[in-house]
Symmetry: C2
């Protein structure tokens, strides 16, 4: 699912920065210097890459999916804003890509075919109280939701809390899609009703999509069901949770 | 910005359906039968393609960007759900792509680097009152917004109405990005403050991104400024509009 542009830019770079498994998938050439790192420490990685770029090197920072969606692009911009003046002279090119929610959505049909939100469920960088308000806002106004970074060893309860919040505002049979490693050979996609959704079905590599009250499951003989959210939202349907409020 | 997967699947097809300019960009071979059409009539197009697929033909329906985001995938699913039983036996593969908001965001930095929403501003398929509630929900909970289909000859006022709503809840200097034909040779990207945003800067091919209260503009000598939304949302910042409510 990589674009030609991404392939070409990665090939031009003398230095490759990023999380080890992402770089491995690029099959770097022997003359490319690989700076693999852990999946955290984004700012340190951005600064190390910018330091080399300031010295005139061509550097690529590799993200999975799209670098602008809960990945390295914002960290690089933050490093430039708060770093030495020389960082602002670096030529920065952000190459867009297929972000996880689009790959997961495509694997089941079109659950993001109507208005939707993308929410990073990690509360490392924001309080969970704000995440909670965003989930409520989305469910109440009829938007589907893609949840990134849903769970990790140090954040074991947030995804179940998100399901609990969603259950207050959405029908029991609202489809929830657990999409793991979408587009890779080990892809695993599972759709369950919101009433049966739980955090045990997800891991760090999973992107979770919670449908809206309009999202449908279309059964097919001998094939996986399709999950899609219709393009329309009829006037007479209203927004039950909002319109019923005093 | 097309993926290898999209190129390969389009090359496999005997029939290509879709809006004329999208198909032209694929440079179809002489042996591929092109069914170009207007940019509306999605359901009719989906049914015509499914009818050929039922007869055993290999058919590609071409969208710009990602077919799952305000494009053809939901229309195809809808046609399958409401069509003859034979439609459910068709092998359907949705190929994800780089949707417009990701290409526009990449062109300026990382304005979608924190939680965000994607809203189709066309009120052909839903009442504007619902769009309005979604815009309010996003601004109040601190999410950036990508607005698709912002304006057309038959929908001239909706984008300005959206800016007016956003101005009630966001700082005057919140960055607004008008991204036209992102990634194409005729790309045109313009960033203005929300106080100066108006519908005249957009056309049908524009995707508009409205930042959140946290979105920043980083000036650079001799280069276009960077626009990005930080990954973090500090607890002490709160959500002013929501937290101030009774």
């Amino acid at each position: 699912m990589m674009t030609r542009q991404a392939h070409e830019e990665a090939a031009r770079a003398s230095h490759l920065f990023g999380y080890f498994p992402y770089i491995e998938r690029l099959s770097p050439r022997p003359d490319q210097i690989v700076h693999g790192s852990d999946n955290r420490q984004e700012l340190e990685r951005a600064r190390a890459a910018l330091d080399l770029a300031v010295d005139g090197d061509t550097v690529a920072i590799v993200s999975g999916g799209d670098p602008g969606v809960f990945a390295m692009a914002a960290a690089v911009c933050e490093a430039i804003e708060n770093g030495p003046d020389a960082y602002r002279k670096v030529e920065l090119v952000v190459i867009p890509g297929v972000t996880a929610m689009l790959a997961v959505a495509a694997a089941v049909g079109a659950p993001l075919g109507h208005d939707f939100c993308a929410i990073n469920l990690s509360d490392n960088l924001k309080p969970f109280s704000i995440i909670e308000k965003r989930i409520v806002a989305c469910t109440q106004t009829g938007m589907a939701m893609a949840l990134y970074n849903p769970i990790s060893r140090s954040r074991p309860w947030q995804l179940d809390a998100a399901f609990d919040i969603a259950r207050l505002h959405l029908p029991k049979d609202t489809p929830v899609i657990f999409g793991r490693a979408a587009g890779r050979p080990d892809q695993r996609i599972e759709t369950v009703a919101l009433s049966k959704a739980n955090g045990e079905k997800a891991d760090m590599a999973t992107c979770v999509i919670i449908g809206s009250a309009m999202t449908k499951v279309v059964e097919r003989h001998g094939r996986e069901p399709l999950v899609y959210t219709p393009r329309y939202w009829p006037e007479e349907t209203g927004l039950p949770n909002v319109d019923a409020a005093p």
